[in-house]
Amino acid sequence: MRAATTASMAARRLAAARLMSTIPEGANINEIRQQLLRTALQLVPEYSFTDKTISEAAKLHEYPSTLRGLAPNGARDVIEVLFEDGIEHIRQAHAELLAVSGEKKPGMTKVVTHLSRARLEYMIPYIRQWPDAVQLLAHPTNLPFALHHLHKLVDEMWHLAGDKSFDTNYYSKRALLAGVYTSTELFMTKDQSPGFEQTWEFLNARFRDTAKVGKAASDVKTTLEWGANNLKGILMSRGIRF
């Protein structure tokens, strides 16, 4: 028993040593929370997206495991940190792309494909545990959260690519990219090929589909317009004019 305890304590000390940073003295509650969640994110490969991850993260910082109460939504808060970091990551990737291209500014498609790939590469350390996160996000109470962050992601990508559309194209572009990105991410969770090369092929194939079918974008657009026009017609038939 003592040997086991010593062994686990040693393992914990080793893990603590591997921590990217510690919580400084006199930190306020928000900083503690942020750091706790970041540590939890690092522990995801070991404990996956569960409440245990946060407890273990607290223990690593030598706090009691009840500190996981700082994350009332449990694993969802860890996922939120992942999403926010993901946005930062693609902003950096965009800056790097601009630096590399120099004079010649890259086209919208090139930027979007590059950023999608960057965001997926960011997922690599967590991809084997990602199905647990997907299961969590698919829960009805978490759907608004999931959709909000998916929208943020595709919106950021299109914005960085320089999209200036102000009509239904705005929605159809984001809808298409959301479809491409989500399907590739799901494919990636099962991809065992070296360097995830099958995932990159899958991503390129999805982009080719949407490019070939500029018609797909116009199909989404016409469907949205059909729905909007019918809604307008129903309102007008009830005397609400605009």
Partner: protein
């Protein structure tokens, strides 16, 4: 204006100056002024005597509340001509599938019984299946305790029956203007004597109507000139190829069949024990090729189209090879016979021939008018909406419009309202717009769902279709909605 003033002046000069005298003089002047114009007045003018327009005329003619209303029916065609088929076995290629609710409406108009039963064909079963997967759904009329799912009828026969009832029973109530071409663009009366009544210039006479009903079809002038609103929607890039085919009479013919191919659905609808109507949604090039085929090749193609994988049909209908389709089908059938248990697989009756001259194609599109009404003008039928034929709903929606409009007019007349008033017309639009929008959207969604051969979509829709087939309650509700018994909303 001048005749009015002159008449009033004469009236005043002729009589001693009293209040009563002035009133009667003015009344005389007003009567004079009406006679001074060469315009006829109608309370309701129906422009377009297709099925919708003629049915509306019948419905209004038999309404006791509208007994004192002047109703005019105007069409540029000869409304005295009646359709009669060349032989008992000859069928028009313009056929329609009437829901029980539409049939009930036509019965109330006294029109349904005017059609001989040999030219009405009910069907009790419908089988729908997917070419790209094993999804299928079977519908049966007894699930909803109905004698039939729908009734097949020729459109010209229905039109003729409506006109016959109009001329035989309602000649005193409806003024029929046959062979009447209306001057376009349509306009409203701007003389100031009326509340901007829509004005129809028939050359020899003019008709000013308190309300103008636009039942003038897809290219409605009432919509484009008077309602002036968006007719939004999409073009499918497909045409509907219709044909009348002779089938193997030994199997009985009380089932409607529809196979969803990625290019579009192929439907066979029973017209009698020996003949059926084909409606095939195809890209224009393929439809042109199919329509031009010799009879034996076309027959082989149709039989193949209900059974072969879509890839083989694409070869038959493509441009790369010049194939003798009948030969190709013959040797393929020999191969398939070995692999397929012909006793267990369910297929439509074998097509044996196609009626001469019955092959025709019309472009398919989806359209909905943004507004159904404008000042003293209202749209019904195809003037208001166009739909994909895959669910056989177009004419049924039109009859639903007509039933609602006639009911609205009757209610308004029974409370002494002006039929052309915006409040009356809005009652109709408020009721019909969402119902039509729902049906149009549903058929459009179905077409898109089945319009692809992408594996994930095919799998999902096959799963969905098979699951739907198992859920009796859901199936019953959907059937009742498409049969018009419940609203889809």
């Amino acid at each position: 204006m001048l005749p009015t003033l002159a008449a009033t002046a004469r009236g005043l000069a002729a009589r001693p100056w009293t209040a009563a005298a002035t009133v009667s003089a003015t009344r005389a002047a007003v009567t004079c002024s009406h006679r001074a114009f060469s315009t006829d007045y109608a309370d309701v003018a129906i422009l377009g005597s297709g099925v919708a327009g003629a049915a509306l005329a019948c419905a209004l003619a038999q309404a006791p509340e509208l007994a004192a209303h002047k109703i005019a029916l105007i069409d540029s065609a000869d409304l005295t001509r009646r359709y009669s088929p060349a032989t008992d076995d000859h069928w028009s290629n313009r056929v329609v599938s009437l829901t029980p609710r539409s049939v009930q409406f036509l019965q109330d108009l006294g029109v349904w019984d005017a059609i001989p039963s040999t030219r009405q064909h009910p069907y009790e079963h419908m089988k729908v299946w997917d070419a790209c997967s094993n999804g299928r759904a079977d519908f049966s009329a007894e699930t909803v305790s109905s004698p039939a799912i729908a009734y097949m009828i020729e459109v010209p026969y229905l039109q003729s029956a409506l006109l016959e009832v109009l001329s035989a029973q309602h000649a005193d109530r409806i003024t029929v203007h046959s062979n009447a071409t209306v001057a376009t663009p349509l306009a409203r009366d701007d003389s100031g004597d009326t509340d901007a009544y829509p004005l129809l210039d028939l050359g020899s006479e003019k008709i000013a109507a308190r309300v103008l009903v636009g039942s003038d079809g897809a290219n409605s002038r009432v919509r484009s000139d008077l309602v002036r609103t968006q007719f939004f929607g999409r073009d499918y890039g497909r045409v509907g190829l219709v044909a009348t085919v002779a089938i193997d009479p030994t199997q009985g013919n009380a089932t409607a069949w529809q196979r969803f191919l990625p290019t579009g659905p192929l439907a066979m609808l029973p017209l009698s024990d020996t003949h059926s109507s084909l409606v095939w949604t195809l890209p224009p090039a393929m439809a042109a090729k199919a329509a031009a085929l010799p009879e034996d090749q076309f027959v082989a193609l149709v039989n193949a189209a209900f059974f072969y994988p879509p890839a083989e049909l694409a070869v038959f209908l493509g441009n790369e090879l010049d194939l003798d389709i009948a030969e190709e089908v013959e040797w393929r059938d020999e191969v398939y016979e070995h692999g397929v248990d012909l006793d267990r697989v369910v297929l439509p009756p074998y097509v044996e021939g196609v009626q001469d001259g019955s092959r025709a194609a019309f472009p398919l599109r989806l359209r909905h008018s943004m507004e159904y009404t404008a000042h003293r003008a209202v749209l019904v039928g195809d003037a208001a909406h166009l739909i994909h034929p895959l669910a056989g709903q177009g004419l049924n929606l039109g009859l639903g419009d007509v039933e609602c409009l006639s009911r609205t007019f009757r209610d308004a007349a029974s409370t002494g309202q002006d039929l052309g008033h915006a409040h009356v017309l809005e009652t109709y639009a408020r009721e019909r717009y969402p119902v039509n929008a729902a049906m149009l959207t549903a058929c459009d969604a179905l077409h898109h769902l089945f319009g692809t051969d992408a594996a994930p979509v095919a799998w999902i829709r096959s799963f969905g279709l098979n699951r739907f087939n198992q859920l009796d309650l859901v199936k019953r509700t959907v059937m009742r909605a498409t049969m018009g018994e419940v609203s889809m909303l």
